[in-house]
């Protein structure tokens, strides 16, 4: 209950902060629309030349783009800003300002993950969900309860994996302050715009087991199209749990190495 109250306070403060810079709304809207436009037009160009891509049809690939945009928007909305403040450029680990976070009587991992929110990312979230809706209509079959449920479960597993990877990379900053580990992830995550089956074998292995971008985006898109096996569902949930436990352990081990900066 205490944590729910804290979350509400964090969201409130973040909202007030972003309301202070109202012109940013238009810039964020422009960027969200550009992101959507390049994604959808890119798929349009591709499918004007080929009918299917490695077995993926135009609506199925659009659903995948929707999953990608939705996950990326969720990251930008809640965990991205906090973890970036810790491990990004001039992050708290580098400047030593983490001291002020550590002295608070709240779990450090909770604070490090949910302190700052970016309400403007709701624009991206709306567009991502919109793409999912359009894709669902174009897929042309009614969504059964089972498919809907597996989609929500795999999307949740995908977001848990996304959080776990970002948390682990943030934890690595304690060993090598100043190195922008999370940027590597942002680059690799873009590979999730397309089905992971496209990539050559060695890259597919990396995208399934090391940085499971494929499990984050491809699996929920398959669930929405009703093409998911029970084994893949259990596998993605299990992998998410495994990565979450591993990342938490890594982050906490790293935190013990923190020795502040100067003074």
């Amino acid at each position: 209950m205490h944590y729910v109250k804290l979350l509400r306070a964090f969201i409130g403060v973040s909202l007030q902060n972003s309301l202070a810079y109202r012109a940013n709304f238009w810039i964020s809207l422009l960027n969200a629309l550009l992101n959507l436009g390049t994604g959808v037009l890119g798929l349009g160009v591709l499918f004007s030349q080929v009918a299917t891509l490695n077995g993926w049809t135009w609506p199925a690939t659009l659903a995948l783009l929707g999953v990608y945009l939705t996950l990326d928007a969720l990251r930008a909305l809640c965990i991205g800003p906090s973890l970036e403040a810790l491990a990004g450029m001039d992050g708290e680990v580098w400047t030593g300002r983490l001291d002020f976070t550590l002295v608070r009587p709240v779990d450090v991992q909770f604070l490090a993950s949910f302190r700052f929110w970016q309400p403007l990312a709701l624009l991206d979230l709306g567009l991502g969900v919109g793409v999912l809706g359009v894709a669902l209509v174009r897929l042309g079959h009614t969504l059964t309860l089972v498919n809907g449920l597996t989609f929500v479960l795999t999307l949740a597993a995908g977001f848990t994996l996304l959080y776990a990877i970002l948390l682990a990379l943030t934890g690595l900053v304690f060993w090598s302050p100043g190195f922008l580990f999370t940027w590597i992830f942002h680059s690799l995550f873009q590979l999730g715009r397309y089905p992971v089956g496209l990539y050559p074998g060695w890259l597919r292995l990396v995208l399934t087991w090391v940085v499971p971008v494929g499990v984050m985006t491809t699996v929920p898109a398959q669930a929405l199209a009703g093409a998911l096996t029970p084994a893949a569902l259990l596998g993605s949930l299990g992998l998410a749990l495994l990565f979450l436990l591993g990342a938490t352990a890594l982050f906490r081990t790293g935190l013990r190495r923190y020795a502040s900066a100067s003074s």
Partner: protein
């Protein structure tokens, strides 16, 4: 023109950037990913039969060349011009006995040196793994160099005049995001220009964005030949002239308005 001073500035910038090469390698890695995604997309699509007259190996050759050319012509300097104007950092540059354009050129040259140290080896390894196919003619190779030079100049001056609008509007860098999106769609990244649908292709051939990235690659690989090649070079030179004129006009009127924020 203070050439000796300019050269000294260029050398010192490049030496100082090499100290932080891991940061710049990360940036270069991020910029490589979008063309690489489309390399895999198109080479999968052309796995069985050629798409739009291009075979799998030709797509690989096209996109690997695009990765390198994109890095050579990408002007990250344009993103910092606005900050320098807003923060008052331009004051110091205006006081030096050097035209401020040297500061931009210095970071351009420094950037190319550092980024290419990363991008060329990575592209070479990918070429060994992915088997590109290309027939490069002597004419193509010779005309590639002026096309590449013009592409760099066009992209640099076009972005620079947009960035200089920061003299009037604080968030002018939103226009740079728009330019990046247009280059992605029309500059041969999402697909080679020849594969775009009819009307989009006509737009791409007329607007400057294709001539910033994909045109030199098309010249090198012989995808544009005969009258279209010479017409393309003429259009490229024309847009470059327009960009230089716009740059000098915007600079002349903008710097008069400049009110030097900060101390």
């Amino acid at each position: 023109m203070n050439l000796r001073g300019g050269w000294a500035l260029i050398q010192s910038t490049w030496a100082s950037w090499l100290q932080y090469r891991s940061f710049f390698f990360l940036l270069a890695f991020g910029w490589m990913i979008p063309p690489l995604i489309y390399l895999f997309v198109w080479s999968t699509a052309a796995g069985g039969a050629p798409v739009g007259g291009l075979t799998r190996g030709e797509f690989v050759a096209y996109y690997l060349s695009l990765v390198v050319v994109n890095q050579i012509t990408y002007s990250q300097t344009n993103w910092t011009v606005g900050d320098v104007i807003r923060s008052g950092g331009l004051n110091a540059q205006l006081l030096r006995p050097l035209s401020p354009i040297y500061h931009a050129l210095a970071s351009e040259v420094a950037g190319k040196v550092v980024y290419l140290l990363f991008v060329i080896p990575v592209a070479a390894v990918l070429a060994l793994l992915l088997h590109p196919e290309a027939q490069v003619t002597l004419q193509g190779a010779l005309l590639f160099l002026p096309a590449l030079g013009l592409a760099w100049a066009l992209r640099f001056f076009w972005g620079y005049w947009l960035a200089l609008l920061a003299f009037w509007a604080t968030r002018a860098d939103a226009l740079l995001s728009l330019q990046d999106a247009l280059i992605f769609l029309l500059g041969g990244q999402v697909a080679p220009v020849a594969l775009l649908p009819g009307w989009l292709q006509a737009v791409a051939v007329a607007l400057p964005f294709r001539y910033m990235v994909s045109f030199p690659v098309e010249v090198l690989l012989g995808q544009v030949a005969g009258p279209a090649l010479w017409a393309g070079l003429a259009v490229q030179a024309g847009w470059t002239a327009v960009a230089v004129v716009l740059f000098s006009l915007v600079w002349r009127f903008g710097v008069r308005r400049y009110a030097a924020v900060g101390g």
